[in-house]
Symmetry: C4
Subunit: 232 residues, 4 copies
């Protein structure tokens, strides 16, 4: 048995959540799960329908994007995953989808304003939208550069990837991450729900104000930080 069996299983199960949560059409999404000690991650093979996936079909890749184990070609977005794992040591799971509402905000190249507590339960800022990539990045090693587009945006805007576990890439679609692949999938579903609600909020009041700071702080602390009291 592969010594990577545990992350293949984790990545498989996390990938299978995407269609159940309504986040993907056909193969438009992928999840990876990393093992930091082994220095690799397991990721969905490219273009394989979800109902044909098995744990064995997951591809093992190192943090430079080299395939380590597996007969299938890994997801075309593999290098983006690799870059994020390499530079952000605190994450062990990454998800990429083209979920409808999050992708629409990405296409409109807008950050998603924080309008309510559903959003504030998960992060204290607008959901960031990185601008579309510069042409030299696109023409070069595109997926690799997509990873840097995300990392640079966080750096340039003083954002903390441990606090903000999601981003929209302008004209493209969302990426989310977390301490586990399961958490990263959770974040993708939350992002889609928040994107839907924010769209409706602006339609109901075109000048809806952002959530005030006291509420942002309170709701975030309910779920996070030293005095959190959500969950068991």
């Amino acid at each position: 048995m592969s010594k990577y069996q545990h992350i293949k299983q984790t990545a498989y199960e996390a990938n299978m959540q995407l269609p159940k949560l309504g986040l993907v059409l056909f193969t438009f999404g992928n999840v990876s799960a990393a093992d930091r000690d082994l220095g690799v991650f397991a990721i969905k093979p490219s273009g394989i329908p979800y109902d044909e996936l098995t744990p064995e079909k997951m591809v093992i890749v190192d943090f430079d994007g080299n395939t380590i184990e597996g007969n299938l070609r890994p997801s075309s977005d593999t290098k983006t995953h690799a870059v994020l794992y390499k530079y952000w040591a605190g994450i062990n799971g990454i998800v990429h989808t083209h979920s409808t509402y999050a992708t629409a905000w990405a296409q409109a190249q807008r950050c998603i304003p924080i309008f309510g507590t559903t959003h504030a339960d998960h992060l204290t800022t607008d959901i960031p939208c990185a601008p579309p990539m510069e042409d030299n990045r696109i023409i070069g090693d595109y997926e690799y550069q997509t990873g840097f587009q995300i990392i640079d945006y966080f750096k340039d805007n003083n954002l903390d990837y441990k606090e903000i576990e999601m981003i929209l890439v302008g004209n493209h679609a969302p990426f989310t991450w977390g301490k586990t692949a399961e958490k990263a999938v959770y974040n993708s579903a939350v992002l889609e729900a928040v994107a839907h609600m924010a769209h409706l909020t602006e339609q109901i009041d075109n000048y809806a104000p952002r959530l005030k700071d006291s509420l942002i702080k309170k709701h975030y602390e309910r779920k996070h930080g030293p005095d959190s009291y959500y969950g068991q």
Copy 2:
């Protein structure tokens, strides 16, 4: 067997309706069921996925928010439930969700106008939206104060909680209640449907007029009051 078994069962069954009715993502919602004679209510434990719920996992809490029985931490919204039960003697069930359309109206901080008979079959006024809480209330005992935010809004606006069994809390999300937990869940689903239709109505005619008084009165009396003739 616990002497609270009956309300645990009721609360369990009512909670399980939320995902079936499409009103919750993950654990973003909770239902409680009260027994007035025993002076307690059963409520969903915090952060437990719906497919792991059992009647035994429900937590018994008194009307001051103290846990009376149960090994799990109760919903983080428990104190809001407790306040409503304490001050509104006529209710035995409460629901809180972040359902998509109702939450969007709450985020836009707008009451939902009464546009049609679907709405009027259930209440004769716009669906109230309490303003976001003052900072001193947020910084204090937040969930406890959320209860008072709701109660004060009803008092200040001369609304009757027995006639209007739902409210949006500005920037947050809806709460509904009723004589039973089942009725409170029903109200949450009705609210979501009415919120959806009202949003569409304004999109189809930005100046759509509110329903006229004679129709409001007629439809409400069909389902309520001494001469009601809806149902068996």
Copy 3:
């Protein structure tokens, strides 16, 4: 066995289609099926959830709205059905729902413009929306008068109920009918789909033009009239 068994069975099956087609929440809808020779129709009992319905629970009512057979109270909309059956001899099935998009148009008090061939395959005019009823009609025998509101609208606008098998009642919701209860249910689903598309069409182009006459005529004739060539 009841001599009305056949229409009870027909009405039961047609009613059970409503939740399957996503046209009703809870009990917000009803279907009836008439037998012209017997001068009666079978209709859903009031307020009974769809999953508790059986053919035996259907109520038999005559065209003046009198209950002829059945232990349960008939739908609160029964008199509207009775009036339509009485005055429109060519119909044997009627459906009333509060389906989301059709109801939103009714709440906005707008006829649904004919924008495309999906619409033209079924009728050659905008989908009519009768104005909200006058107060004297509302205060009186409301459901009875709702029937006349529909019939009068058709008469005043020279519309033919055999050609246009659906209407929105302003501020209320849609009614549809047909030669059979099954056809009336079909019409309710078509209406909801057309209402959804028309709403989106106006959002995509606020000045979208109505379908031109030559296309209206062609598509309608494909499905109807002497030279129709749709279906078997």
Copy 4:
């Protein structure tokens, strides 16, 4: 056994995908599958509900629209399929639906702007919308002329049907095609998803810019062309 059994089976399976993918209501859609060597295609019979379809019920038609085998009348759109097969030698599958979002764009008579990479993964231009047909074409052999309306639009606008496997027919609805019936169905689902996202994108930013050329090129080449690296 029919010598056309293989395309009957293919057409049957492809047709059955339409309701699963949420692309059709009732019988509002059809798929055909061609065999170039035999010079025929198999197509859905007209007006038969999807749950009553079997491979045997598929109708065999030649590229001039003549029925070659089968007891049922073929889809009313058969001649449109025939024309496309006759003039576009590279396609072996065609789909016609009235899917909600694509049809709304067709009704608004607008091409769908290329706003993001979901779109660019499949084609490098806006999704074309042919204008509504001229009256002389409508009055004549309508479905036959619909085929020419599509072919002429591609010719007049220098579009390549092998690169752009979908079109909206103004005021009507979408047609898609591909090297196989399965691919044509895939294209219908992609079109509907892209139409939905594009609608939302314009709502989120009414002046959202089209995707820039470098991104269009990159994403398309990921999935197509000599250096593609998507899939296995």
